[in-house]
């Protein structure tokens, strides 16, 4: 009898692997560096005014935080309405460190790291019990967590005077620069993209698609929910730390649960399952807001909330897949080189 040919086994070649850096990666890197150089010059020369520079920084910071929620909700399908709380945790922890230990670059880096880590760790601890819940209940639970965090921030002066409590935290050193924001945004997006385009990322998406089926097909859904959630919260924390050292003033009301809806809008608008969409929406929303403020003036502030709300409603009814609908910008596809096998990872 002939031996059964196991058609499905593929042996991995044992040969030595030379590290080749793909051409596309080099091109991408050059484009990004070029972008940085151009923007820096424009800012330095005053072509981009300090005001718009601030807006640009805020846009990138918002994108960092939104990327976190994109991983959590857009890719892993976990409906978290507490994202602003983790942003706040990162902000307060980072600010506490630079205010207490001095405004040096090293302390700034440590502060950012600590803020991101604190947010990630708290995200982990909160996620352990809470991610078991199904989507609408998860939303409410994370919303509740957000309220609890705000209350704690309001009373933070009881823990340490530096934290300011309901009066807010003043006098945070202005250490955030365009360089910090730009390169951290690039790093965060790179991490997110590399996660999404990997086996680990695929598995996160299966959790979004059909958690029970994923479980039955051998995937440890809890672990990957936790991964996405922890990482996403950490990114929010990083964004918060950068924000604190940009605006130099923190107030608990900036991190209440209503602010979580702002980030949600960005992720939904950009399209679930699309990092490109999150970036476009994140930057777009911040700039659009400023542009409208310029045009409409004081009136705008009133109407901003109404427009936001209508945008959300119309979006869900007419185009729930958002702007990008799961489509991802891919430099490989752009340069027509060995197109990757389908990047259809959107969610309707």
């Amino acid at each position: 009898m002939e031996p059964v040919e196991k058609k499905y086994t593929v042996t991995v070649p044992e040969k030595k692997f030379t590290v080749t850096i793909p051409r596309n990666a080099v091109i991408s890197a050059l484009v990004i560096v070029g972008l940085y150089v151009v923007l820096s010059l424009l800012r330095q020369q005053g072509v981009i005014t300090p005001y718009w520079g601030l807006i640009m920084d805020l846009a990138l910071i918002t994108t960092i935080s939104a990327t976190g929620l994109s991983l959590i909700y857009g890719f892993a399908g976990q409906f978290s309405l507490g994202h602003a709380a983790f942003y706040g945790i990162g902000a307060y922890v980072a600010a506490f460190i630079t205010k207490t230990y001095g405004a040096t670059t090293v302390n700034f880096a440590l502060g950012l790291a600590a803020g991101a880590l604190a947010a990630a760790v708290i995200g982990f601890l909160v996620g352990l019990p809470i991610l078991r819940l199904r989507s609408d209940y998860l939303g409410i639970a994370t919303l509740g967590f957000g309220v609890i965090v705000k209350v704690l921030l309001d009373n933070s002066d009881k823990l340490s005077k530096t934290l300011g409590g309901s009066m807010g935290m003043l006098g945070i050193p202005r250490l955030t620069t365009f360089a910090w924001v730009f390169w951290l945004a690039v790093a965060v997006l790179l991490i997110a993209r590399n996660l999404v385009n990997s086996s680990h990322g695929r598995v996160c998406i299966t959790v979004r698609e059909d958690e029970i089926a994923a479980d039955i097909m051998g995937i440890d859904t809890t672990r990957y929910k936790m991964l996405a959630f922890t990482l996403g919260c950490g990114m929010a924390g990083l964004g918060g730390g950068l924000y604190a050292h940009l605006y130099t003033f923190l107030h608990p009301s900036s991190f209440e649960f209503l602010k979580s809806f702002d980030v949600l809008l960005i992720v939904v608008l950009g399209g679930l399952g699309s990092l490109t969409g999150t970036v476009v929406a994140g930057i777009g929303v911040v700039f659009l807001q400023e542009a409208l403020r310029g045009v409409l003036g004081q009136q705008f502030l009133e109407w901003r909330g109404v427009v936001y709300a209508l945008a959300l409603i119309v979006l869900m009814i007419l185009r729930p897949q958002g702007l990008m609908g799961g489509w991802e910008f891919s430099i490989d596809r752009l340069l027509q080189r060995r197109p990757k096998g389908g990047s259809a990872r959107g969610a309707a």
């Binding site: 058609k7 499905y8 593929v10 086996s199 680990h200 695929r202 479980d215 097909m217």
Partner: protein, 256 residues
């Protein structure tokens, strides 16, 4: 040692006794059919075996190991895979991604490799992709590899479910109504497919099906369930003549 044993398995949902004293032994390499009228508890058998619900009483034993306390994903990694009665594909993922996703437990690289795009990552991703594409070839889905699973025609979706189950490299394959909604010629193709896949992948197969043509043709042995209990076992020929089975499906004869 038998591959799978269900020893006196019962599963209750409150007052509803979905399974009562269910006994089953599957030797390696068998192809057994599980039949019975709707609501007899057949899918519950699958759910208990795959760990979706633990048995209320009794044990599920795989190669000597008691599975009761394990979670579904652990049981799958031990070698049991299944398809679903109501197709549960990852709709927004492509055909290829559906298959590659479930290969994750043996992807061969860690998070750090993924973040840093190490040579190991590149190598393993390629290997997984090749393996997945091989499976798709086998199931006649290769030309659809980049289509979203949700947009596939029904028959292709059923084949994809099987491909996905095979990607977990199971020892035991549970097929839940794989021929549902298929016309006779498709069923014929399916019979061939199941037979050849079983041989090539060295599988043991437990099959739930209503289409008697497929069942009689394919299965070496049948187990008949009604109201959660086994009412008959035997070869297809024996079962066809069994009065209790006929009664379960067709009801008591008038005047009997």
């Amino acid at each position: 040692m038998a591959l799978l044993e269900c020893r006196n398995v019962s599963r209750h949902f409150g007052g509803l006794r979905a399974l009562v004293d269910f006994d089953l032994t599957l030797e390696k390499g068998e192809l057994v059919g599980l039949i019975g009228p709707n609501g007899a508890g057949k899918t519950t058998v699958f759910n208990v075996i795959t760990g979706v619900f633990p048995p209320t009483h009794g044990d599920v034993v795989l190669e000597g190991r008691v599975l009761n306390a394990y979670k579904p994903y652990q049981i799958t990694q031990m070698g049991i895979a299944r398809t679903f009665q109501n197709i549960r594909l990852f709709k927004e993922m492509t055909v290829l991604e559906n298959v590659m996703a479930v290969m994750h437990p043996r992807c061969g690289y860690g998070l750090l490799d993924a973040f840093l795009r190490t040579p190991r990552f590149v190598r393993q991703e390629r290997a997984m992709q090749e393996e997945a594409e091989g499976l798709l070839e086998r199931m006649n889905l290769a030309d659809r590899r980049n289509e979203k699973a949700g947009s596939l025609p029904y028959g292709a979706q059923r084949r994809l479910e099987i491909a996905r189950a095979l990607a977990t490299r199971p020892k035991l394959l549970l097929l839940d109504e794989p021929a549902a909604g298929m016309n006779p010629s498709e069923v014929g193709q399916l019979v061939e497919l199941i037979r050849s896949v079983k041989q090539d992948f060295d599988l043991t197969v437990l099959l739930i099906e209503h289409q008697m043509g497929l069942v009689m043709n394919l299965c070496e042995r049948l187990v008949v369930l009604d109201f959660g209990q086994i009412i008959a076992t035997g070869t297809p020929a024996e079962i066809q003549r069994n009065p209790r089975v006929l009664e379960a499906y067709l009801g008591k004869a008038v005047g009997a």
